[in-house]
Amino acid sequence: MSKSRLNFKANTLPAIVMVGPVVVIMVLLIAVPLIYVGIMSSCSIDEFYNVTYNFTLENYIRLANQDYLKIYSQSICIAFITTLICILIGYPFSYFIARTKSKKKKILYMLVIIPFWTNSLIRIYGWRTFLGTNGWLNIILQLLNITDEPIDFLYKTGATVLGMVYCLIPFMILPLYTSIEKLDVTLLEASSDLGAGSMKTFVNVILPLTSGGIFSGSLMVFIPCLGYFFVSDILGGGNSDVIGNLIERQFQGGNNWPLGAALSIVLIVVTLALVKVYQKLGGDMDALGV
């Protein structure tokens, strides 16, 4: 034992050389920017919108502003509906691909993965073209005489939710797929053997045993949904802003970096809190991919 330890030490480079580069990269790219955002969030600005290092909590107090509160609740509402729709579509789909024995399994799984390979911004622009008043959907509807006038699909909350669901559903399907795949089939057989029909087996056995997947999927949809400002920008046209839009505006048009930084910090803290809740509920951290 001790001999092999010695050998191990002798055959490898010193620990500092092995982990050093990783630590440097982590510190430079993650820790330093985060600390910078933290400092920025307690700075103030002068009348020319220049950042001054007068430390204050005013930025955080301003976040409780009436207009902002409206957007928080709207953003949370959008995230909530998006998550719900993702569960409702993602669960049956994941169940099917996890349980099917046919060779299509791989193809179906690929269909979920492939969109990751294309930039989501481009795909969201695609939706705008598709849904616009001169878009394909309206052309088809008019050809089929379902409607005379083009319907205005865009720039409504519904369009934003659609875009969010479209962008984020893979994050729901993947953890769900993993948890359903892991489910022991003999448990389902045991349930059926003891007198439960398929509905009862679903409610009593399948659902509780895959709840970890549902929760981690929800987390992975809900949190980005608060921040994906480009979706609400492109499809919502400013009518369904999310918290991400607020942050983006402070850094761009508003030119109030400290306020934007404070918003970012709040979003990070909320995210961490949600992850903590998940962990407390017995969630599997591996399922989150973190």
Binding site: D184, T186, L187, E189, A190, S191, S192, D193, L194, G195, A196, G197, K200, N204, V205, P208, L209
Partner: protein
Amino acid sequence: MDKIVELNGVNKVYGTNRVVKDLNLFVEEGEFLTLLGSSGCGKTTTLRMIAGFEEPTTGTIKVQGENVEAKEPFERNVNTVFQSYALFPHMTIYENIAYGLKVKKVSKAEIKKSVLEMLDLVQLNGFEHRYPSQLSGGQKQRVAIARALINHPKVLLLDEPLGALDLKLRKQMQLELKRLQKKLNITFIYVTHDQEEALTMSDRIAVMHDGVIDQLASPTEIYEHPKTKFVATFIGETNIYDGCITSIKGEIANITLENGEVSVKCPEDFSILEYASVSVRPEKMKFSTKKVDGFGLVAQVKDYVYVGSVLKCIVALPNGNELKIERLAGQELPKVGSKCYPYWNPEDAVLIHNESHYIFEALNNIKLA
């Protein structure tokens, strides 16, 4: 007694693999029937067809006289104890056992009464609030049994329920299971590949081999009168050799083996010049220092092994084959290396048809025609 489970001409085919072949099986009410066979012979498949998890490719399955092939598992009055226990990990022991009644919408008070009764039956009082992960293998097994019994099934199917337990616990659970079965008077269909387990527990044993039931009989019958070579070698230890029946005098047949002639009690369906196998249990073998009438085997004592109360002796025949002989320890025995003459009482050996019997029969039929 009534036939509670009936399988008629049941076949199961997976792809091109015929796993169960023309199975006919009748299980009587209140019986402890064991399906015994080596790995992959189709025991689990047969059990799963009775439980309803698999559909037979052809053939019919009846439970209490009623065809059940089209019925879902939850519509059959049959419950299963799974090899892996299959306890619901997110439910307490209480909830696990109560499950069968809960899905039937039985009242809470009644469920409580039944569950406590079941816990008592499997001697797990006080464990109701634990989760399956907090139990030992033997305790999980008891929960699985209690859970399967709470619906008062007519038939309980058990797929190697003791497979994961250590030897001592297994022996203890064997007795407990047997006691339960007697007490509740439920039909047990029990799957195992452990022949000792099958012999101690069963009323009848169905020895399966390659998807076919080779023999279905009581443990004594199976042990003492195996029908096929497979049954003879699979159950207990035996010495088995092929030979030709050279003469039949009254009840005794003379068989010529490669190493010389032997005498065996001959059932009626054997005829002269037929090729057959002779099986003799080690404890029925004897050896003498002088030649015995009707036996022409000569052997050399190779080795003795003491196994507690018995002494195992290996003797070698001229062609290199070995015979196993078991004696009670303490008897006077020939020395290692000395010459001896193995023999047995003709009624202690069993004559078994081998494949050539059927060719022989076919040839006879042609002659007659």
